[in-house]
């Protein structure tokens, strides 16, 4: 878990306030939770629609966690940190035997 590197791709459509919000939220969460253990790429669908076609993306913003497996998609402006962490498998919902308690502290920082 600690050594694995996260590869994250965030698909947005243009520089809308929603796109900006999603980018900022993701950057903040990554810096807090995955400092030095992630690569994050922002893809503007307006510039390369074919990429969205290949990935079959419908909604924006869409965050795809490509690594570590399993692949996950999070749709929206990522405004709820706790839900994002759950979606990225960085936080299990509750009473998980290993890390449930420690991670919870960060979630509403």
């Amino acid at each position: 878990m600690i050594m694995s590197k996260h590869i994250l791709k965030l698909y947005v459509t243009g520089n809308t306030p929603r796109s900006e919000r999603a980018i900022a939220n993701l950057q903040r969460i990554c810096e807090q939770e995955l400092k030095g253990r992630y690569t994050m790429k922002v893809i503007n669908i307006l510039e390369c629609p074919q990429l969205a076609e290949d990935e079959k993306i419908i909604a924006t913003p869409t965050l795809i966690k490509e690594l570590p497996p399993p692949i996950r998609r999070i749709i929206g402006d990522l405004s709820n940190t706790e839900k994002v962490l759950i979606g990225l498998d960085l936080l299990t919902i509750s009473n998980d035997e290993r890390e449930g308690e420690t991670k919870n502290e960060h979630s509403h920082a």
Partner: protein
Amino acid sequence: MNTRTHDVSVEKLKTGIPGFDFLSNGGLPKGRTTLVAGTSGSAKTILAAQFLAEGVIHSNESGVFVTFEESPSDIRKNMMGLGWDIPQWEAEGKWAFVDASPSVGYESVEVGSFDLGALISRIEHAVKKVGATRVSMDSLGAIFTQLTTSSIVRSELFRISVVLKGMSVTSVMTVERTQEYGEISRYGVEEFVADNVLILRNALEEEKRRRTMEILKFRGTHHQKGEFPFSVVPNEGIIVIPLSAIELRHKSSPLRITSGSSELDKMCGGGFFRDSIILVSGATGCGKTLITTEFIAGGAQEGEKCLLFAFEESREQLFRNATGWGYNFEKMENDGKLRVVCAYPEISSLEEHLIRMKDVISKFKPNRVAIDSLSALERISTIKGFREFVIDLTSFIKHQELAGLFTATTPTLTGGTSVTETHISTITDSIILLRYVEMCGEMRRGIMVLKMRGSAHDKEIREITIDNTGMHIGKPFTDVRGILAGNPVQVSQ
């Protein structure tokens, strides 16, 4: 001046879907989105694909198919059976898919607000790539299960229709309904994409499935009202049968043709009219098939092409009957003067029969058509469906300007009328009644020309006899009354 006319009338895009352009008075509103709502199995996907396919085939227009439910490979496969080679069109740059079908292999969650910007730009991209003027989206229900925040999806669908309008693209969006009659769609999509609504139904009436199409509204433009039956035909797709929209426009010819019996010609005032519809009604065994046979033989003798649809007897039986009366059907067929199409009514739905019959008529181009018997088709349909069938077929035959002779079997031996007669009698030009007449412990046969539009005719009920040279019309039953009522009484003179 020009802009003014644009304001008052919405331009239509001819879809090419058979029959649809008629009931929509010219096609789908151009540059707009039409919502197509239907229950499961109501042929929504076929309509969506056909809208694009007809564009590619007939007007060299490209299309984009946005699929939310089935995968593109399933659609390619399924539509092959309707004769549409989508992979070929994709290769030619006339068709593009936008695959928005649900993927397996990952989970997705929603966190915060989102829009369908990705989908919109993919559609725009595909439209530009193939230069599309038509877009189909099928079916919206699936996107509501992929994305759970329905309010966002609804308003984004509206945005899609606005974007498509901006690109001058004409589009259809399909959406599920839960019942045939009731709210327009699930998820209340119609409140957002509401200018044009088309409803497809696949209703069960008296244990028979009946497909119909109804244009609920076309904002700012005219269309035919009510439900119109349609059928899905292999290698062709949807064919709409534009019933009550039929115009009474056919010409009337003063030319007379022979009925095949000089005696009957005399009763009719000199034969049938060339483009008239003749109904021959009678109980079983009283000579309807014989009159049909003579009608055909009379035509063939004059060098006309004749087409016979038989729904009661097999080919062998018909040919044997004809031989028994002295007519050689086989020779007529070999000479290319005759075509006999035999089918049991039950082999397909009435709509399918209708489409096939029209198809045969258009291809064979006969001068005469006989149907023996029309009433045999009553039993595979509802009364309403049958009436629509008769009206459509009659109108079609009249438009081809050919003579049609239909037979109808009455349910009782003496007197009586059949459902067929009730529905058809006002649209036929001539009605000939064949009736059994019970006299002195003997069954005799009577013939009468009840109606002969535009001509004088014999008003008497005459006796007919049948032998190995066909039908012979004899003297009137002058001393009997009550034959038509089925209750003949001998009148002493």
